[in-house]
């Protein structure tokens, strides 16, 4: 999924996929932090924005 997103021109880091079990609280936090940081660095998404609500 990530590879196809990047193939059509989404920035690497725009999309994340992680497998996290319900008992891995620490991993949830770490992942959320990482995703937020990376996406913030990329700025607002410009793709697929018209007319989708």
């Amino acid at each position: 999924m990530k590879r196809l997103f990047e193939f059509i021109g989404f920035e690497p880091g725009r999309f994340h996929a992680r497998w996290i079990s319900g008992s891995e609280a620490q991993k949830v936090v770490e992942t959320a932090r990482k995703v937020t940081e990376e996406v913030r660095a990329l700025g607002p998404n410009k793709k697929m924005r018209d007319d989708r609500c």
């Binding site: 999924m1 590879r3 196809l4 193939f7 497998w19 007319d51 989708r52």
Partner: protein, 317 residues
């Protein structure tokens, strides 16, 4: 000649009531075109032809006869035969209802490439092949061309020139003599993020959502397609860049691991969108990640994404 072999084989099958009808090729509107021909009786066998332009993948047409107690003969080239496996593996059409008439294939001509250099507006009267040369005898004249210069793109990377499944094979087996290097996919992978985005935006923008790519596809064999549903409205029906991008991404994922790389989706697109390149990207990735073969090539290999192995790579863990 192949045409005569096809006719005699089909005549015999129909006479002995081994099949109910056959899906083959008939003459199209000009020398570079064929049309699917549905032959139900011995009298209609005359319609059947073979042509160096026999591009259509005919396997999907059996889907008009789901749940019927019927036996359908289908003429398939190497690449089309992978679709037969697809339809059988997806339990859409049972193997015993197929009578597969296999044609070993050394490549099909791309009529768009040929039409640039020759006048194909007449009817194809006959053709002969000598080694690498084809002589097309049309009502507008005789043309001699080097096959290698005018093949369909997919034929330059064909892995299965001989059908992988058949009940009868019309001709000598052709050993695989090419490999697929995915140059088309790599060329796009090597672009920058912005270039990729611009390239695909330009393609997706053109899409008129006619769904010809889906209709022709043997992996698109769901009884109810998400793109038709209004309730729930999984995908917007508007033809704009965002919705079209969503459509193409969803379709690529829906056929991932099942697309047999027959190239029909790109061929039928009226807007010239290289639909199949998305699927080829997925196939290339799956080959790299899971060491699998092109779907439909190996009947023993199930749908890639429907298979679990403990040693699968886990990039997302």
């Amino acid at each position: 000649m192949l045409k005569e072999k096809i006719k005699s084989t089909v005549t015999e099958l129909l006479e002995n009531k081994r099949i109910d009808f056959v899906i083959g090729y008939g003459a199209g509107s000009d020398a570079g075109t064929v049309r699917p021909a549905f032959v139900k009786s011995v009298e209609e066998v005359e319609q059947l032809i073979w042509s160096p332009f026999a591009v259509n993948n005919l396997a999907k047409f059996v889907m008009d006869h789901l749940y019927e107690n019927i036996k359908i003969g289908v003429i398939v080239k190497g690449c089309d035969s992978r679709s037969v496996i697809r339809l059988v593996q997806d339990k859409v059409f049972p193997r015993e209802n197929f009578y597969v008439i296999g044609v070993p294939c050394k490549g099909i001509l791309d009529k768009n490439k040929v039409a640039k250099d020759f006048d194909l507006s007449g009817d194809l009267v006959d053709f002969t092949e000598q080694g690498d040369e084809v002589i097309l005898k049309t009502s507008k004249g005789e043309f001699k061309l080097r096959k290698e210069d005018y093949l369909l793109d997919k034929c330059y990377r064909c892995e299965t020139p001989t059908p992988v499944v058949y009940d009868v094979l019309l001709g000598e087996e052709v050993a695989p003599f090419r490999t697929d290097d995915y140059e088309d996919v790599k060329a796009i992978e090597n672009l920058s993020v912005e270039e990729k985005s611009r390239y695909w935006d330009k393609q997706f923008e053109k899409c008129i959502r006619c769904y010809a790519c889906r209709n022709v596809c043997s992996a698109c064999n769901c009884r109810d397609c998400v793109f038709d549903m209004a309730e729930p409205n999984w995908v917007g029906k508007a033809a704009n860049l965002s919705e079209n991008t969503a459509f193409h991404l969803i379709r690529a994922w829906h056929v991932a691991g099942r697309c047999v790389d027959c190239g029909e989706c790109s061929r039928v697109c009226p807007m010239g969108i290289p639909v199949n390149t998305l699927n080829r990207k997925m196939i290339k990735d799956m080959k790299e990640l899971f060491a699998v073969e092109t779907p439909g090539k190996n009947p023993e290999q199930g749908p890639v994404l429907g298979t679990f192995r403990t040693d699968d790579p886990e990039e997302f863990m």
